[in-house]
Amino acid sequence: MTATGSPGNPNPNLSKPMLVHHFLRALARVNRAAPKQSHARRSRRIRCAAYASMAAAAGPGRRWSRVLLRRLRSSPSSHRRRISVRVARPPRIATASSRVETLRRLVPGGRSLGYCSLLEETADYVRWLDAQVQLMQSLVDFFSS
């Protein structure tokens, strides 16, 4: 499998082997750290490992990957997805700008980016996120066979 720029992988910067390498290593670490940990705990650690290895494979050239690496390295045990508390509000029309705000929250580091940079970061983030999901699905299929 060629690493970059092959016909099945039009993005020259997305390296699937690097993704596999980082994620498998992270999974082995999760297992070594506490072999008898609870399912919930291991599940959380695997989730963190997914984002951390995705960011590591992407490298520090992107805002989203730098933000994720910083977040996950500093306090790996406390990395939680922000749970938004829905306060009852009158229904409002979703404007283009409110959707941009949602996008800013979804893409790591998106808050302080200009519109153009935000779209570029989004495109890159989605590509890598997609590849990570495919990898995890392949592993689940492989382990379940």
Binding site: R25, A94, L103, G114, C116
Partner: protein
């Protein structure tokens, strides 16, 4: 929105980025955008990212369950063990 000190972004550049984003959505979601509408595209992109995040959660859960079986004597457990040996 913070200014990055760049020259003004042209409509062409925005359109190019929009179509780049559009090409990332899977076919089933692209159908939801009948015209090149930036607003719809943003909506679909946000929805897609959220579903990817949920998939990461779900797949992490499933991997966790599979890794719990690592100490078994089954062939699957051996596969998992060998792949995670480092």
């Amino acid at each position: 929105m913070s200014s990055r000190g760049r020259s003004r972004i042209t409509d062409d550049e925005i359109n190019e980025l929009i179509s780049k984003l559009q090409s990332l959505l899977p076919e089933s979601r692209r159908r939801n955008i009948d015209r090149a509408s930036a607003s719809k595209l943003l909506k679909e992109t946000c929805s897609y990212i959220k579903s990817l995040h949920r998939e990461v959660d779900d797949l992490s859960d499933r991997l966790s369950g599979l890794m719990a079986t690592m100490d078994d004597n089954s062939p699957q457990a051996e596969i998992i063990r060998s792949l995670l040996r480092s």
